[in-house]
């Protein structure tokens, strides 16, 4: 798998040389940003075994923070050096994740969905009604991405590479976290929470840490999203984006966290091109049909199905090799 990953990253590095600006911005960059947000969700589903509807909220917390502390045309907020603003954005989304975890800590299945949905809707309405921080339902606009280390992130190619780097970092963090003691404890809680306590580990802080970590990852996506869109408003944290993220996770597959990126690109392609073929009204129908197809034909999502097919092929290969060795020996 890791060699395949390396190959994918190499392809993604050279790809901009061959595609138009539209493809670069609207398809690739957008998919990767959505993929990071979906990764924060598939991390929770794969390793903690809960479905959270609050990931868009967590991304939104980072997004609003970066908007508030960046130059913008709304006349609200305080301008900070961009690195400080990013650090604060990630800090707040991590803390917000911990907060969601502290509330949802005992819930699994439908209950974790209900609680996180309630939190996300509360945040949505709060951003609409609060003008002193969130500027009501119009939110922030005219936010400019910073000049980082001498290069402007306003440049679409630079921004693409920054996004790709962030996604790689997010994937790396997830891999490292899940093999750390705390990450193992998170997976332990999913399998047998009682056993985790019976080896001397309290489960509540483990669950809170998992949500906090997912908040950090979601925050990365939130920052990038605001830099790309140059605006954020209550619509960015509403029910629509929340459900879109779940669709992405289901399409990509919840069994492997990297399914998030496959789901994101599939979603963005449908979102972009089906609208050209049909009309905007048809989008929900198409995405609904795709979802139905995935749920029925490939319940592990696109990546999950690919991985199990690969496993079957490998097994077949191994058996063929074994048979060959056996034949050779007998001769």
């Amino acid at each position: 798998m890791s060699r395949t990953l390396l190959l994918i990253v190499v392809i993604l590095i050279i790809l901009p040389a061959f595609i138009s600006d539209f493809w670069l911005n609207q398809i690739l960059t957008r998919s990767i940003i959505l993929g990071i947000a979906a990764l924060s969700l598939t991390f929770l589903t794969t390793y903690l075994g809960v479905v959270s509807f609050a990931q868009i909220t967590l991304a939104g917390v980072a997004g609003y923070t970066i908007a508030y502390f960046s130059p913008n045309t709304t006349g609200l907020g305080i301008e900070l050096p961009w690195l400080f603003a990013v650090a604060l954005a990630l800090l707040f989304s991590t803390l917000a994740g911990a907060f969601v975890g502290a509330i949802a800590k005992k819930s699994v299945g439908i209950y974790s969905i209900m609680i996180t949905l309630a939190i996300s809707m509360a945040f949505f309405y709060f951003t609409r009604q609060n003008y002193s921080i969130f500027n009501g339902w119009t939110g922030f606009s005219g936010i400019t991405a910073p000049v980082a280390f001498g290069v402007s992130l306003e440049d679409s190619l630079v921004f693409y590479y920054a996004t790709l780097l962030s996604a790689t970092a997010a994937g790396y963090l997830v891999v490292k976290f899940t093999s750390s003691p705390l990450g193992l404890a998170v997976q332990g809680v999913k399998d047998a929470a009682r056993r985790v306590r019976a080896i001397g580990i309290p489960t509540t802080p483990v669950i809170i840490a998992a949500y906090a970590f997912s908040g950090f990852i979601a925050g990365m996506s939130g920052v990038l999203n605001v830099w790309q869109q140059e605006r954020i408003s209550s619509f960015s944290v509403g029910l629509g984006p929340t459900i879109d993220l779940l669709i992405i996770a289901v399409i990509g597959g919840m069994r492997h966290p990297l399914g998030a990126f496959i789901g994101a690109i599939t979603y963005v392609l449908i979102d972009t091109f089906v609208i050209d073929l049909f009309s905007r009204d048809r989008f929900n129908m198409i995405i609904g049909l795709v979802l139905l197809f995935i749920v029925m034909a490939a319940p592990q999502g696109i990546l999950g199905s690919f991985l199990s097919a690969q496993k079957r092929i490998r097994k077949y290969d191994n058996n063929a090799i074994k048979r060959k060795i056996k034949n050779d020996c007998e001769i």
Partner: protein
């Protein structure tokens, strides 16, 4: 200071249960049970199905809260402590029905047990491959006879291997009291002597409570036997004496001869 020789320290109490009671609704699963486990003691608990043996373990570890009574671990009142605190205080257990992390490997499971006991679980970056915690996990695997299965997923282990892993987990760190809940259940006749061997090789200062239906294993590995029936602690005593008592014959055979 006359009473500080070996015999006196043998009299130290590892676990003290007083009036321990647990009700499920109106049903009394454990009924006003008193039991004192001395340091280094090996106690077997006998009792028919539903006698309340596993429930007693769940009360000692805090998996279930007590309805009444008190539990002292190493002299510290622990009946209101959360499970993980009792484990940190030196208590360990195995589960009758293996309760394991199916999606983790044997290595990661044992590593988690080790970092759990040593309070290193909050680390959010991977440990070095040659860390002392990895060494401890390897050592546990060796004791449990799972050295060759380190990279196998727990969900893919056989029934017997899962039981071995339960034991490996229960011996992590520096345990003071270990509760074994029917470790021999489902083991083949060939695997039983291995288990007996393992139980006999445990450090002398370790206190052990063993729930076991296999009378041979129970007698060979214990120096005191308790009998539970209908949630009550009916009697305790020397293994031979208890096993040949009328009460045990009645419980196990069904009627007095």
């Amino acid at each position: 200071m006359p009473l500080t020789d070996g015999s006196a320290s043998n009299q130290r109490v590892a676990l003290n249960l007083k009036g321990v009671t647990r009700r499920f609704g109106s049903f009394v699963a454990v009924d006003n049970l008193n039991m004192t486990i001395k340091t280094g003691e090996r106690r077997a608990i006998l009792g028919s199905n539903g006698a309340g043996k596993t429930t007693l373990f769940n009360l000692i570890t805090g998996d279930f809260p007590l309805s009444e009574g008190s539990i002292e671990i190493e002299g510290v009142e622990s009946s209101t402590l959360p499970t993980h605190k009792r484990i940190q205080a030196g208590l360990r257990r195995t589960y009758q029905h293996a309760l394991l992390f199916d999606s983790l490997s044997v290595r990661d499971t044992l590593l988690l047990a080790v970092v759990g006991i040593h309070n290193k679980w909050p680390l959010f970056y991977p440990l070095k491959k040659n860390s002392k915690y990895h060494e401890k996990a390897e050592a546990l695997a060796k004791v449990a006879g799972l050295s060759s299965k380190m990279d196998v997923l727990v969900g893919a282990l056989s029934h017997g291997q899962k039981r071995q892993l339960e034991i490996g987990i229960a011996l992590s760190g520096d345990p003071k009291i270990v509760l074994f809940d029917e470790p021999a259940a489902g083991l083949s006749p060939a695997e039983r002597p291995v288990l007996t061997e393992l139980l006999l090789s445990l450090p002398k200062k370790l206190s052990v409570i063993l729930i076991e239906h296999d009378m041979d294993i129970a007698l060979e590995t214990s120096n005191i036997v308790s009998v539970m029936h209908n949630g009550k602690h009916l009697l305790e005593g020397e293994p031979e004496e208890v096993v040949h008592s009328d009460i045990v014959r009645e419980i196990y055979v069904g009627k007095r001869q």
